[in-house]
Subunit: 320 residues, 4 copies
């Protein structure tokens, strides 16, 4: 049953934080993203019983962008096992930008630093299960269907827009290909990667995915284990250490919730259950999805980040 | 009361993991460290009631080295408040080595990436409370005395050895000085920094410090709040994201305990209480100290890391 | 008329230097180059009257590879004027490798450092005169025909081999495309670039090209000005400062002849006339071509470099 | 006998180029330099017979700064031989700034890239002949006395100003010390280095030094060989490839005269004799000294560089 006090708080905080949208701007390098209304801010929280708290601009669909990186990582691990995937990609944070080539050229690592920088994400996309690109893409959608009970679809306009302007990702992918770190041809790996980035999702569905991650791969509503606890643990480590681009450390310190952001302005967050005995909101965990398309120079939604900061502080949601 | 089964497990695991010492070597650049017996391995765990589990080579004293970085960060925050300190040093992980100048020169940040790389640690040492170096050093010792009820002392041989060979740290400190990021003269900042690195500690005392961090600054034995929960939270974020040098991400994924290592072979770990209802060891949290001086190329104790990995897996101690 | 003493000296020096081939190896990343006999060493010198001194393995054809970079630079300048080309590419040496992305990402220059690193060479290839790739390629061949009176052709096997394995060059080109520094589509720019690298040439023809560069674009045999003195000056500056990959400075100090090397093992050198009054060999200038396919880690022919060093010392050919 | 037409031209060009001083500013990081009148511009040319052409602000004394790097390199080579010095420092240009640590940390070279970046210059200063700092400094002055027949002295105010603010040079020197590339203690090496930078010189004396370098170490007036031709050759290579900081390539292309600049606004240039038969000014070579303290972001005098560009173009002084 929905707690009315929580809704009330959320409504107040949404208004408090909407003003932070002016500190950011919509992602300019993808025309289809640039044209969104930057003033939107919406949040959707699903508690452990499936109750939904929806406040603000919640009737939206947006593309996953980098949020997809953590989902394809989980999907790849679910199919191949964690060891296989960690043999292709490391789990170390890097202080460089998500699309930097510098660490590769300086350190010549035999695998990307982590699956949440573009190089690592492309590497993981290339090993998604499936004999060819349509099969890989289909398998990813099928995997996500286990979380939300429906088939997601791709925003074709965003896909085409990204495909044409993916120069930097092509540079990264060819760099990986040169050192034999890519299991597909470059153009194929980019196709599956940009397809996954262009998957369109609602706040309600994204919150459900967050809930399953918070519950270590277990769906507390359907009571099914969707993926293993071992994978969930590494996924949450990645979200904490690398999930918010180059302000992941700051987000961990001030919010402390495993999360992954995307340049479309979406944030996926997973609040694990806590033992605290007081009458805390969401003490049995929840999934959170936020959308606000004005992003900062790191790539994170400005108002979305501030809203999560307030939630975490007020409700003591940090895992630290 | 001590649980005999736990002692038995620890004894078996110590022997399992001692062989990993051959994968490392004692730190060569500090003569006083180089000459230690690399085969040592000892662990000390203090539970929430102050019960000590000591197994292996536990009658040792070793210098804090980089373990001191998290302690001086806490001390500085306790005196100045978190905001003041975070104005001098960021909390972002970096993929570069702990003593790298590259990220500074590329990004020209106005503050070091985090207080656990050398540049950040020197910056924090420089703002320890106290009018001069002896006062700052004394205040740090006084702060640590609140955790363990006794005054620690400095290993003069190690201090002198490090002072003479601290070329790289001097390079870093002069680099910081050039961009006005250091609140002391370079040689003074280095003196307090190298002094804190040279503080000698026992496993028993280090475990107690870990317990207080695990309890968010609260000492569950004396029932005193030694430092604030807000500081403890950021300290644990730093330990998870940057505590184990350039394998912090790997350690978080496979161990998942906030920890800080030093090149002397010591590791400080803080296991927060968990809500799990099963009869888990240390479910009410504990502090862990490990010592094994053979370190890997990243600077972490090889056997110590492996031992913590086994503990975490067997007892489910990960916070993720 | 040929000076028999010079031939004698050359024959002796060829034998002296052939042993240096064992210090290098044929370029492994291009299969068609890897399979050459690494023990070959040949030189061809054309004096200002067109007299040819040919010693060693001189009946060879090899692909231009990076030697083509200086030729397409001259061709582009000849068509567009020097200012136009220098608006697209700088003339500064860089300490990084010829295919490095680091300087671009650190400094974000609005143009490549110089036309002899791959990024600069691809940029220049893209502005070769011609409406499309075949026309650009044809115009380059037509320009080279002015030097040697015949049409050069492409080694198709080398071209196909390079096209398939050009991952790093694709990475560079997409990087340039992202910052709008490329006047063609990436795949088109790469096609013209790899075509020019795959042009096959003889030592005799390459020596003639060297002679014209030595004479500031004037052909002392046909008495025609093929390109302007202004362009020749910049070309020679580039050859001295950046012509021998990352040992250009060493080559300038110990050889002092404007030169450009390629990974196929060829070196193009241009010895300008000097005022010295003594009876020096080639005091009226000459063009030199060397071929020896065993290259060092920088990409320069080992025996070829040593042979030029001996020639320069014995005959005082340095411009410094 | 002085050519009046040359004086006339120089006077006109000085006025043409003085306006370029507004494109730069005096070096801010050394207070004693910052306070100079930025509008000054003076040139002094000494021809092969010792005739002096002095135009503009010529009654000035300024500190050598980086101009001293090429002089201490020559002095060190003169004492130890070229091979000994080239064993301590390379002769390769680098695209990074003169005080960058990036190339050291990325490539971990066993010696600095060249003696004209700060790291290389400090390395060379450390091997100047002499048992201690005063002796080394005295020997450098004695060596310079051979060129100009008098003892230079140090600007104590500049020395003290630089000594206090030399944080970046200290960082570089400690970095070198860590990899055992420095033959002196860091503070000693810095003392001799900063002393040499602080030597005060007149335009007339600097022009004479340029003349001797132009004549390959031979003084055409006293008819004495001051240092060997072999050393002069490498010195000129260094001046062409690295003498004008990060616009050395551009200067070589557009001026083409071996030169070395300093942040005080001085430029030392050496015009070697040429064989051209026409009635060219200074066809028998000359030494040039320019002073104009407004420098650009690379560290080169703005008006001084433009003036040399005009001279070279009008009188065809380029060696290329």
């Amino acid at each position: 049953m929905k707690n009315p006090k929580i809704l009330e708080q959320l409504e107040s905080w949404i208004e408090d934080n909407r003003s932070h949208t002016i500190l950011g701007a919509t992602a300019k390098y993808i025309p289809a993203l640039a044209n969104q209304d930057p003033n939107q801010l919406g949040i959707c929280i699903m508690d452990h019983e499936g109750e939904l708290y929806e406040v603000g601009d919640v009737n939206v669909e947006f593309t996953l962008q980098s949020v997809s990186k953590i989902l394809s990582f989980i999907a790849a691990c679910d199919h191949h096992g964690l060891d296989y995937v960690l043999d292709k990609v490391n789990v170390e944070p890097t202080g460089e930008a998500f699309n930097s080539i510098i660490p590769f050229e300086i350190h010549r690592p035999n695998k990307p630093f982590n699956p949440l920088i573009n190089a690592g994400a492309i590497t993981v996309s290339a090993i998604l299960p499936g004999e060819n690109i349509p099969a890989k893409y289909d398998n990813l959608l099928a995997f996500l269907e286990k979380f939300i009970g429906k088939r997601l679809y791709m925003d074709v306009e965003v896909y085409e827009s990204e495909w044409k302007t993916a120069h930097r990702n092509r540079a990264l992918a060819y760099y990986l290909a040169e050192s034999n770190q890519l299991e597909l041809e470059v153009e194929e790996a980019l196709e599956i990667y940009i397809r996954q980035c262009s998957i369109s999702i609602s706040l309600q569905d994204l919150a459900k995915i967050g809930l399953v991650i918070a519950y270590d791969g277990f769906d507390p509503i359907s009571k099914k284990q969707i993926f293993s606890k071992e994978i969930a643990r590494v996924a949450k480590v990645l979200m904490v250490t690398c999930g918010m681009y180059n302000s992941s450390g700051d987000f961990a310190a001030h919010v402390g919730i495993p999360a992954k952001s995307g340049v479309s302005g979406g944030i996926l967050a997973a609040v694990p259950p806590k033992w605290h005995s007081d009458e805390q909101a969401f003490r049995k965990g929840c999934g959170i999805a936020v959308f606000s398309p004005a992003i900062d120079s790191n790539g994170n939604s400005t108002a979305g980040t501030m809203l999560l900061k307030q939630l975490s502080r007020e409700w003591d949601l940090s895992i630290f």
